[in-house]
């Protein structure tokens, strides 16, 4: 996998603490911006208006950026996460992390019939403004962060990303696979998805879709004999069913909650908004196809493509030593 950038910076005093005393950090701070973006479909169709989270460049970009998932954030359990969000869009945005506790201040508006209705799960950053969000005592696991304002519109516009808290013992490689969809009809101009109109044409994993005739997106998934952690997240509005070719996965957690026993499966139901963690110890090198069994395997109407990646497994470095010294080596 082209590893998404980690944007967490440790607070300076804490960083000193970490460096000098080798104690865990207790606070994490991130600066994000919600910006206008464009996503270019691989089939050559016209680029699509998106909204995205990026690492805050300090001021709003003058032109739309190239859209991708929000940066992958990492933190340790029990610590505090603070995100400073700059809003470069022309409507209010906010941030929520389902599964992580925060003090929420729901925002309301008065509709045309004089009724008070909720518009956001918590306080917002007005256009051009900056708002700060804090989660203390973080729970371990895999989480989505996403807009808490008008989510039916803003989330499907692309305002989502992943947060991972902590890890698993004896894991040699982490793979993060974030599923989402795009219905271009709702993006120009941005509009709310409803059950009547939401008909996505592009099906993405980590912001990319496989288009027929083009190379299958590849994700580096570790070495044979080592354990790989796959963090599955679904920021889309539909359920998907990743199926791993050949081997079984040990599904170990859901929504950040560990299972009492691993579940040995070749497939898993990844419902909208859900995260699931799975462990896998590949025994043979090669490219393992991971495809969506709910058949989001099309690209802009064309059969073939969609939610399809190759997980690439290699021999561990030490395995090549005999070959170098004249042995036959593995083949």
């Amino acid at each position: 996998m082209k590893r998404a950038m980690r944007t967490i910076k440790k607070n300076t005093p804490v960083l000193l603490f970490w460096a000098l005393l080798l104690l865990p950090v207790s606070a994490w701070a991130v600066d994000l911006a919600a910006v206008a973006a464009r996503w270019s479909p691989p089939d050559g169709s016209a680029s699509i208006t998106m909204w995205g989270f990026i690492q805050d460049p300090g001021s709003c970009p003058g032109t739309p950026v190239v859209w991708e998932n929000g940066p992958v954030l990492t933190a340790e359990p029990g610590t505090t996460l603070t995100i400073r969000l700059r809003n470069c869009l022309d409507e209010a945005v906010s941030l929520i992390i389902p599964g992580q506790a925060a003090s929420l201040a729901p925002q309301t508006f008065t509709d045309g019939q004089g009724r008070t209705r909720v518009s956001a799960f918590t306080h917002e950053a007005a256009p051009g403004a900056v708002a700060t969000y804090t989660w203390s005592n973080l729970r371990a696991g895999t989480y989505l962060y996403q807009s808490g304002s008008h989510p039916a519109k803003q989330v499907q516009m692309g305002l989502y990303g992943a947060l991972t808290v902590g890890g698993y013992p004896d894991v040699h490689r982490e793979v993060l696979l974030l599923y989402s969809e795009i219905d271009p009809a709702l993006h120009n101009p941005p509009a709310a998805a409803t059950s009547m109109t939401y008909k996505p044409r592009y099906f993405l994993i980590n912001g990319k879709t496989y288009a027929p005739g083009q190379p299958v997106p590849e994700v580096q998934a570790g070495n044979t004999g080592g354990t790989t952690l796959i963090r599955f997240l679904n920021a889309g509005l539909m359920s998907h069913v990743p199926v791993l070719q050949g081997p079984y996965m040990r599904v170990v957690a859901e929504d950040g909650n560990p299972y009492p026993y691993p579940r040995e499966q070749y497939s898993l139901l990844l419902a909208a908004g859900k995260t699931r963690d799975a462990l896998w110890t590949p025994v043979e090198p090669g490219k393992y196809a991971l495809h969506d069994r709910s058949l989001a395997l099309t690209s802009n109407g064309a059969p073939g493509g969609g939610m399809f990646v190759h997980l690439t497994v290699k021999f561990p470095w030490v395995m090549f030593v005999p070959a170098i010294t004249g042995g036959t080596g593995p083949n």
Binding site: K199, P200, R201, F203, V216, S239, V241, V243, L244, Q245, G246, P247, Y248, Y261, R263, E264, Q265, Y266, S267, L269, A289, H291, R293, S294, L295, A296, L297, T298, N300, G301, A302, P303, G304, G306, F308
Partner: protein, 471 residues
């Protein structure tokens, strides 16, 4: 040393007990399919019929010398078999355009392609070109219920019908789902769930697959037909291999006696999830994706759990054990003398399990007399509705027949194994006086055939009285 010996002998004893238990059971095979371990299959075209009068082009796998099937042949092998499947691509495209490649993908199996017959490489697996072949091979290392489907242009080819079930029988032998006594069953049935969006089939029939590019049908999917084992209700209750349904050889019509264990092998064969709801009792899910729900190898299904709706996920499989007895109803399912002289019967429980040794009647409910000392219409102890001093008849007053509308499954009697007169033309589907329970998708709109109720993804479970032969 002594400890080691003791442990070894304990293991031997445990193994001996297991063998004894395993050999004590026997089961009726009720799943139609073809047995391996070597299979010659092909992919070709055909038409399925639906009960609303529809007829739709399909692409299906066919057994050697057979027609394209919806679903493909159920492949039945034994644990440890080296399974070899040669697939020939006999597809044709009526609507125009090139004939596509085709393939078979086996989730959960470590498949290798025979290098002497390797077809051409595809993104998911090796493929057979038009007129060509490809041979897959894998060792059926683990018992269980599995599925297979086309790994070529899967969104289209699966919708067209290229999928099926694979059953691996355990080393423990017939009558077991897995290698553990707690997976024993008396009968087994396959519930392969699929659905269809006719728009796709019509475009492929008239324009060829290329016509789909101008639509978004494969993403903007909207099924209007639903099937169990390839037939929509009520067609699935007809016999298997019915001549009127040449491309849909399999039926779905589960029957069992009280007290038996019915193994449900549920396969999510196409792209939508289906909540498969089984009336009559809860079922215990013992395995998913061909793996026993166990806390450690050999522990048996200690992580199994009971449900009354099996959430069937696309591409996944569930094995569940369903049982039914009259226990818990609090009335005598065979009737009591108060209901009529013809209902006089015995309940003989020599083995002390509370059930009749032959009929599996729940003896504590047999002729039990209602004790309603305060005359509030309910038993003083159990609280059930009953009439003081009377035996446990069905606790409702049956209306006059003139006030009733009858289902075709009603025998005229509420009691198991009994028939009573019905008005002319009523009933008729329940000649043994069984109890019938609808098993169906709990997405209620899926109980239709193109918007006509009832039909679709439903069938009936029949609890047959003891003595009725169930093949």
């Amino acid at each position: 040393m002594n400890t080691h010996l003791a442990l070894a002998s304990l293991r031997l004893t445990a193994a001996a007990v297991l063998v004894l238990i395993l050999s004590a059971a026997g089961a009726a095979a009720a799943i139609d399919g073809i047995t391996g371990p070597t299979f010659q299959l092909s992919a070709s075209t055909g038409y399925v019929s639906t009960p609303d009068g529809g007829s739709y082009l399909i692409w299906g796998y066919a057994a050697e010398g057979g027609l394209a099937q919806y679903p493909g042949p159920t492949l039945i092998v034994n644990q440890g078999d080296t399974v070899r499947i040669t697939l020939t691509n006999n597809l044709s495209v009526a609507g125009g355009g090139p004939v596509p490649n085709v393939s078979m993908f086996f989730p959960g199996q470590r498949v290798v392609v025979d290098q002497a017959d390797r077809g051409v490489a595809g993104v998911l697996t090796s493929e057979a070109v038009p007129g060509g072949t490809v041979t897959y091979q894998f060792v059926a290392a683990h018992p269980g219920t599995y599925t297979y489907y086309s790994g070529t242009d899967t969104a289209l080819q699966m919708e067209m019908g290229l999928f099926g079930a694979l059953i691996v029988r355990p080393a423990a032998g017939a009558g077991y789902a897995y290698n553990h006594p707690d997976t024993a069953f008396d009968r087994e049935y396959l519930f392969l769930l699929s659905e269809m969006d006719p728009r796709v089939h019509q475009v492929v029939e008239t324009q060829g697959p290329g016509g789909l590019a101008a639509t978004n049908y494969l993403a903007d999917y909207f099924a209007v037909l639903w099937f169990i084992n390839g037939r929509a209700a009520p067609d699935n209750m007809m016999v298997a291999n019915h001549p009127l349904l040449p491309h849909q050889p399999y039926n779905s019509f589960p029957r069992m006696h009280p007290g038996e264990k019915l193994l449900m092998r549920v396969v999510g064969a196409s792209r939508d999830s289906h909540p498969f709801h089984h009336h009559g009792n809860h079922a215990r899910i013992i395995a998913r994706d061909g793996r026993l729900l166990e806390s450690a190898p050999g522990a048996g299904p200690d992580l199994s759990y009971e449900v009354f709706t099996i959430q069937s996920v696309p591409g996944s499989t569930h094995d569940a054990i369903f049982t039914w007895t009259g226990k818990g109803l609090n009335w005598d399912v065979y009737g009591t003398p108060d209901a009529g002289a013809q209902y006089v019967h015995d309940c003989i429980d020599n083995d002390g399990d509370d059930f009749d040794d032959t009929t599996y009647e729940y003896c504590p409910d047999h002729y039990a007399v209602c004790e309603d000392s305060n005359l509030d219409g309910h038993d003083d102890t159990t609280g059930e509705r009953c009439k003081n001093g009377y035996t446990k008849t069905i606790p409702v007053v049956l209306p006059n027949q003139g006030d009733l509308v009858f289902g075709a499954w009603y025998s005229g009697s509420p009691y198991l194994g009994s028939l009573e007169p019905l008005p002319p033309g009523e009933g008729g589907l329940n000649p043994n006086g069984g109890f019938s329970f609808m098993w169906h998708s709990h997405t209620e709109k899926e109980l239709t055939n193109y918007d006509i109720f009832p039909g679709g993804m439903m069938t009936m479970l029949i609890i047959e009285p003891h003595g009725v032969d169930i093949p």
